[in-house]
């Protein structure tokens, strides 16, 4: 680099300004050179970033459920993934405070779910980081027996499925075998076995599976590091949820580490959506694999899943396989649809997604109506505590609701809004801080919607406000219906008479539940949500009217004359 060495021995005072000017000139040249060099380096850095480089310092394998080693290779994604502990949506945020109880905020939910574990503990959702911990400590799990199927979605469980599957076949299931091959047949087999277990047994199986970080027992996120104590037998009365911090089994059992404890359990981690060899998106959940294959066999139009439409036109020699057939853009929704769906996840049958007839609510209902448990009993989720009706419980049908909406139809994936691209220099990185787009409207919405943020937020607020108001209206109709049914029964209605009304109750509750348990307050498909709620209100009122009619005296024949049309003005009487 050039630099000016100003020398000022004042030999000739007359010309003393000459060297100064020269020095200045040299300094200017030096500065310009610094600027050009800086620009050069900046261009070089951006070119490097543009290649989205990563250095695979740690070898991650098929057992690496612990996200920490992945974070060493892919720090940008990992940094935002860790932020799922941040919780802006509840006012009770913080790492240990449990989110607010929905049951306290909406008392009608207790009546909707009467006789079902959701009536004892049901809280606001929070970030992915808590999915396992919150399941370990919810009263639904600690006070009622639950099945191992729940862990299909709340834990990074695939290596455990593989291990159980291999062990059932009598094959070697050591750490190396588990780490080297995904082995779908074994995963499917283990999935069936784990679904049939008690929750606590399945949870303990998680801890017997290596997690890719041997000897390290500190999970990144809360929960998952201790064996789960067996669920208490059903108590005669459920402990009412008081909304205070629950000290759940996960915390009570802390320190009781059994000798088989190899790995920690983790909530959803990198390996649940990514192939550790190529980092490609990958569907890992057996429930989704089976569900989407069944959907492909149906004739429900799915224009937002072009690869399914293509498969249908093909020879159908093999089942539709999202890992083979789906495009990357489709997989950016499918990986979320592995869990954000409606499913049956109880003890009577292996977990399944009810998509044989299609994704719309009445198609799912048709599937359930026609479904029989393995023991031959007609399908139902629970017996309603207040009326005795056999009813369905909707889980969180985000994938199904989104499928009916304008964004899906326009080719927008879940990740486009919930994990929008962030720029890091010249690198594009999907934000792995999965959260509401409303907390990030700039990146989530404005990439496509060229309108002010305020306007976008107003639009969403309008949709969600209308939907919420309609949910509340449907809830009033539902509770009125329950009262009317109980009154009818008290007045001596026969089982046969009530049976028809129970059918209406089931339809009404299923529809209200479908929208209220779906995590978008109608935004994923606003007209669909309103349509469903309208039907719910209709069925509730039909059931209520039928129940009231059972008690009402028979009306005499009406003799009132039906007046014919006489024109706009009545005829003059002269």
């Amino acid at each position: 680099m050039s630099s000016a060495a100003a020398k000022t021995p004042a030999t000739k005072p007359k010309r003393s300004r000459g060297p100064l000017l020269l020095a200045l000139l040299a300094a200017v040249v030096a500065l310009a050179t610094v600027g050009v060099a800086a620009l050069l380096i900046s261009i070089f850095e951006h070119k490097q970033e543009g290649r989205t480089p990563f250095v695979r310092l740690v070898d991650v394998k098929e057992t690496s459920t612990d996200p920490v080693p992945w974070g060493i290779n892919w720090p940008s994604q990992f940094d935002s993934y860790r932020r799922t502990v941040d919780d802006e949506e509840t006012e009770r945020g913080g790492s240990s405070a449990m989110p607010a109880s929905k049951l306290d905020e909406h008392p009608w939910l207790k009546r909707l779910y009467a006789g079902y574990a959701f009536s004892i503990d049901y809280r606001e959702a929070r970030g992915h980081a808590y999915m396992l911990y919150d399941q370990e400590v919810t009263d639904r799990v600690t006070q009622r027996p639950q099945s191992g199927a729940c862990l299909h979605c709340h834990a990074s469980i695939i290596p455990t499925y593989r291990r159980l599957g291999l062990e059932a076949e009598g094959k070697e299931a050591d750490a190396e075998t588990l780490a080297n091959d995904f082995n779908w047949p074994a995963v499917m087999e283990g999935f069936k076995l784990a679904s049939a277990m008690e929750y606590s047994a399945a949870h303990n199986e998680l801890l017997k599976t290596p997690d890719g970080t041997p000897g390290e027992k500190n999970p990144l996120f809360p929960g998952g590091n201790t064996p789960n104590t067996p669920a208490n037998p059903p108590a005669s009365e459920g402990k009412p949820s008081d909304g205070e911090d629950d000290v759940g089994t996960g915390e009570e059992a802390a320190g009781k580490v059994d000798e088989h404890h190899l790995g920690d359990a983790h909530p959803v981690a990198c390996i649940d959506c990514h192939d550790p060899k190529t980092m490609e998106l990958r569907i890992t959940r057996p429930g989704f694999i089976n569900g989407i294959a069944a959907l492909a066999e149906s004739d429900d139009p799915v224009p937002h899943m072009p690869s399914v439409e293509r498969w249908r036109k093909g020879n159908r020699q093999r089942p539709y396989d999202p890992n083979v057939d789906a495009s990357r853009q489709e997989k950016r929704s499918f990986v979320c649809g592995q869990c954000h769906v409606e499913y049956y996840c109880g003890p009577k049958e292996t977990l399944f997604f009810p998509w044989q007839n299609g994704l719309k609510i009445e198609q799912i209902e048709k599937t359930y109506d026609g479904h029989k448990f393995p023991d031959g009993e007609p399908f139902y989720d629970f017996v309603h505590g207040e009326t005795g009706a056999h009813v369905y419980k909707a889980q969180h049908p985000e994938f199904e609701m989104w499928s009916q909406g304008i964004h899906a139809r326009s080719g927008v994936s879940c990740a486009d809004c919930h994990m929008p691209y962030q720029r890091e220099g010249a690198m594009k990185v999907s934000s792995h801080w999965v959260r509401s787009p409303l907390l990030n409207t700039n990146n989530a919405c404005q990439t496509c919607h060229n309108v002010p943020e305020e306007e976008l937020r107003d639009k969403v607020a309008t949709i969600q406000g209308r939907t919420t108001a309609q949910i509340e209206r449907a809830a009033v109709a539902l509770t009125d219906m329950l009262d009317a049914i109980r009154d009818a029964e008290a007045a001596g209605a026969t089982e046969e008479e009530l049976g028809l009304i129970f059918e209406l109750q089931k339809k009404a509750a299923w529809r209200l539940d479908f929208v209220s348990s779906e995590n978008s307050k109608g935004f994923h498909a606003d007209q669909e949500a309103m349509r469903i709620l309208g039907e719910s209100i209709d069925y509730s009122r039909q059931a209520e009217a039928a129940a009231l009619r059972l008690r009402a005296p028979k009306a005499p024949e009406s003799t009132r004359e039906v007046v014919p049309v006489e024109g706009v003005t009545p005829a003059r009487k002269n």
């Binding site: 000139l25 040299a26 040249v29 050179t33 050009v36 990146n443 404005q446």
Partner: protein, 170 residues
């Protein structure tokens, strides 16, 4: 930038201290200016500077943040009839280069300092340029919609037709 020194050749003159030192200094400065020019030339080449003087859309993608805009243009209805410059530069021979220089400088500055709004938003001035570009081709079709006097109120074509140049934009 800098004047080249008038007497760069080192003279083996009688050792008059002042001139000798001055001469050496100019030689030194000449080397400095040469280094600057060389580094500048290399940077211009490495940064594909010449491509910015062309009409090739790939030149715009040198700046990595424009990749998305390039991709959506490739899927748009105008991909066969218009490149970046057709819509984003005036069709006036002088205005074209003024706008190119202006945007070129400020885009480079923004991306180098990384202090720009995301998603990228068009400046009012550049929006006027695109509007003029629409009319450059489509004026005959829409002349009934145009204001009676120049400068009068006018609908902005891309308010409704936002995806003609970049697909999937509303």
């Amino acid at each position: 930038m800098n004047e080249e020194p008038a007497e760069p050749e080192p003279q083996v003159a009688p050792p008059t201290a002042g001139r000798g030192i001055k001469g050496r200094f100019f030689a030194f400065l000449a080397v400095g200016v040469g280094v600057l020019a060389g580094l500048g030339l290399f940077t211009f080449g490495y940064g594909q500077g010449a491509s910015y003087l062309s009409n090739d859309p790939k030149g715009c993608v040198n700046c990595h943040v424009m990749q998305g805009h390039f991709d959506s243009w490739e899927q748009s209805s105008h991909r066969h009839v218009a490149v970046c410059n057709d819509c984003h530069l005036p069709h006036h021979p002088i205005g074209k280069w003024v706008t190119k220089a202006d945007n070129g400088f400020f885009h480079s500055l923004a991306f180098t300092l990384e202090n720009f709004h995301e998603p990228i938003q068009i400046k009012p001035r550049n929006r006027r340029v695109t509007q003029e570009a629409c009319l450059h081709c489509h004026a005959d079709l829409v002349h009934n919609l145009l204001p009676a006097e120049s400068g009068g109120d006018m609908l902005n074509c891309i308010h409704c037709h936002s995806d003609v140049g970049h697909a999937f934009k509303d």
